[in-house]
Point group: C2
DNA sequence: GATATAATTTTGATTAATCAAAATATATTA
DNA sequence: TAATATATTTTGATTAATCAAAATTATATC
């Protein structure tokens, strides 16, 4: 049985892999995401590699093995089903679900999760719109497309950033073009080779438009929100 | 914040106090109930005493302080509400609820418990019939009476045994006259000074009658089952 | 390419919880 | 009461997870 700490590391590595172009996760990124010192992460990573949950390349970083990915998807399934339950059944606010789910996901049994799934009517996605992996570890491939495939007026959600250039990622962060964020394409200028996007006014206080080159926009994977 | 191990010890001490005449819980009883070696229990008990959750009398045993009792009742509340939820909402069998509740009770937040309580309609008792302590730590005093106050035909549940004589307790265990067990009084003979009880035929395979002296029957606290 | 900077690993310690086995105290029995 | 059995505590070790700080190795800059 993996300890809850092991589960948490594996889930975090999975999430970090999702957020980078290169699938290898550097130690700094992992230790920051886990909120531990780098030395602690190194020690843990060696242990996870022995358990065959990850591949560890010293001085480079880590990537999940098939077994690690399996465990990660179990944890993601638990987390998302619990969040859905907290919101739909117990009436939690969306901002409150994460904290409690983070604790519960390490304490629930498989039986509990399957019962919750049935009780909720086998929902395909959690309250954030993220797909819930099946009990067998299958997760719906989100039909994300590069931003430059979108048209003016499209309402979209950022799925992932296919680029790990720090300057690019920093810019994305400053502009809040990070996974999960919702936008509208307010202009697509083929001649100038630019796209302009803007946060939805009712979800953001500051929503100044942001213009990006068509070339860079291919690095931003988005999916339709289904709105409008 | 108490760790889940601390929570478990405190809950266990509370339960053991309920099950003995003398409110002091000897180390052997505690270590066996916790499933750890006696030395481990001693070490932990010192820690709990420093935290002012228990009073520790070396070579004698332990008893809860007011603060310890408060924590114990929080844990009992969590456990019983979770069991109720698992049975009433998720359709668990009664025999399955304990195992999952035992894990979850250490992972849930106060918010979660209060929401579950409301969702269940503020139930007064869990599926075993045990009262659920309030959020403020009040628990309904079970209206238990000594067995000799019962009459022939009464259907009763054992609440607690007010005697810690090992032979007596062993006998009670052999006859399955332990807390939670359900019986019918089939004879009360004032002249002979005896009472005879029998397990309910549909809950027990072996249900040979058992006769006990009136004197000893005062040590067995029971409550009406509400049946018949 | 030499040096400064940043990332990573190593080392030595710490805390919570545990066990096995030795030492000690208490209770029982003969 | 002395001998034996039982309960309890102590001692020394272990494991998982962590930190701080030193040592090492990449990477970036001049």
């Amino acid at each position: 049985m993996p300890t809850s700490t092991v589960e948490q590391y594996i889930k975090t590595i999975y999430q970090q892999e999702e957020r980078c172009a290169h699938d290898i996760v550097p130690m700094k990124q992992l230790s920051e995401a886990m909120g531990v010192t780098p030395g602690t992460a190194t020690a843990m990573v060696k242990h996870l590699a022995e358990r065959k949950l990850i591949r560890y390349e010293p001085r480079k970083g880590v990537r999940l093995t098939a077994g690690g990915r399996e465990l990660a998807l179990i944890m993601v399934r638990r987390h998302r089903l619990i969040e859905t339950f907290l919101e739909n059944v117990l009436g939690y606010d969306l901002s409150e679900v994460h904290e409690d789910a983070e604790q519960l996901e390490h304490a629930v049994s498989d039986k509990f999760i399957e019962r919750i799934d049935a009780y909720l009517g086998f929902p395909p996605a959690d309250p954030h719109g993220d797909p819930i992996p099946s009990a067998e570890g299958h997760i719906a491939r989100r039909d994300s497309v590069p931003l430059d495939h979108c048209e003016t007026g499209d309402s979209i959600r950022v799925a992932r950033l296919r680029n790990d250039d720090p300057a690019f990622l920093l810019l994305m962060k400053e502009q809040r073009l990070t996974p999960g964020e919702v936008f509208v394409v307010i202009d697509k200028n083929e001649t100038a080779g630019t796209m302009t996007v803007q946060h939805n006014a009712r979800t953001r206080k500051t929503n100044t438009p942001f213009t990006i080159s068509m070339g860079n926009s291919t690095r931003i994977m988005v999916e339709p929100t289904g709105e409008q």
